[in-house]
Symmetry: C2
Subunit: 177 residues, 2 copies
DNA sequence: ATATAATCATTCGTACCCAAACGATATAAA
DNA sequence: TTTATATCGTTTGGGTACGAATGATTATAT
């Protein structure tokens, strides 16, 4: 990240240029399109890259890894909170936990006093997995930001949090209608 | 976006704080985790919000919308290029095009001189759809960036392009092994 | 004590996501 | 002309993604 070699200003790709011209022609051009579409592209590339280079050999999808990561951080956690922290629906989590349990990485335990609820515990194999896999994934994270300047890095962190907060605010507003 | 009301610095969420402590304890803390994980969270929220508020009523998924968007920009485009521009695999595109054709939004035409290739054309219904739907989606895009300062906006656009370029560079490098 | 409402995780149905394999087609090499 | 290689879109298999519905359980109201 503290890579001070000369940076040329990133240019529009052909696709971006074509999209820009089209949106100008229909009167809707705005550069927020670039932020949003490039954010989606970036997540898609990181997901595929990390699955192919790191996760696949451990029978993990990107989302499986994310779920394991949250479980690793909390050690044991209720499914409702786990789904929220992993950013997925509870119904999706049920399927992913099935897959992870199949590989022996975690287990589901009924709640001690509320039979509706389930606690997810990480297993020894799961801990071993995360200790081995997370540094490799972390290298990809470092790789992704390696060409940002310090200022870009700090500003992007803040911007993402701001946009997240903005969207969460709107999501809450629309859900209470 | 040119919203100059006082901004407090975005704070770490509970989940971020917990993750930070955990990573410090295993000697792997780095704030690139925040950039990457928040990028994923942001795309998830935008996808869900736009599906629920806009796309669902037109029988469109977020990816279906993205594909229609690229077709709308190019008017007719080969599937290989369409998949690349939409950021999805060709096998995924085949399924999505089936869905979009079912709704009458586009059609696949065999290439005039190379029977292996397929051209996708937008239909009248597809054009009408995009003219109606894109402004609504665009409002969500504007919404997402509405609380960024001008500097944050410009810097984030550049950062995303830089990270995309970095990851594309590494993807190419690893694919030629 | 009973009835009603709320909450939980799971199931169901549908759509997306991808790599690998496949069959068809085009191009290059012998 | 024949054979080998490359490329295309689709199919296959397995996993993820979500909202709505479901059954079980807990909490609240009467």
């Amino acid at each position: 990240m503290d890579n001070f070699k000369n940076k040329t200003h990133p240019q529009l790709s052909d696709a971006e240029e074509r999209a820009k011209q089209h949106l100008i022609s229909v009167g809707l051009y705005s550069r927020s399109v670039s932020i949003i579409s490039n954010t989606f592209r970036l997540t898609s590339i990181i997901r595929n890259f990390s699955e192919n280079q790191v996760l696949k050999e451990f029978n993990l999808s990107f989302s499986g890894f994310t779920v394991m990561w949250v479980i690793w951080v909390w050690r044991d956690i209720e499914t409702a909170k786990l789904a929220k922290n992993a950013g997925i629906a509870k119904s999706t989590l049920t399927g992913i936990l099935k897959t992870l349990e199949k590989h022996g990485y975690c287990k589901r335990i009924p709640h001690s006093s509320d039979a509706r609820r389930v606690i997810v515990h990480i297993s020894k194999a799961g801990e071993d997995l995360m200790e081995k896999i997370f540094p490799k994934f972390h290298k990809i994270e470092e790789m992704a930001v390696s060409d940002l300047t310090s200022d870009e890095f700090e500003t992007t962190i803040d911007s993402l949090r701001t946009m997240l907060h903005t969207m969460e605010k709107f999501t809450k507003k629309n859900n209470s209608k």
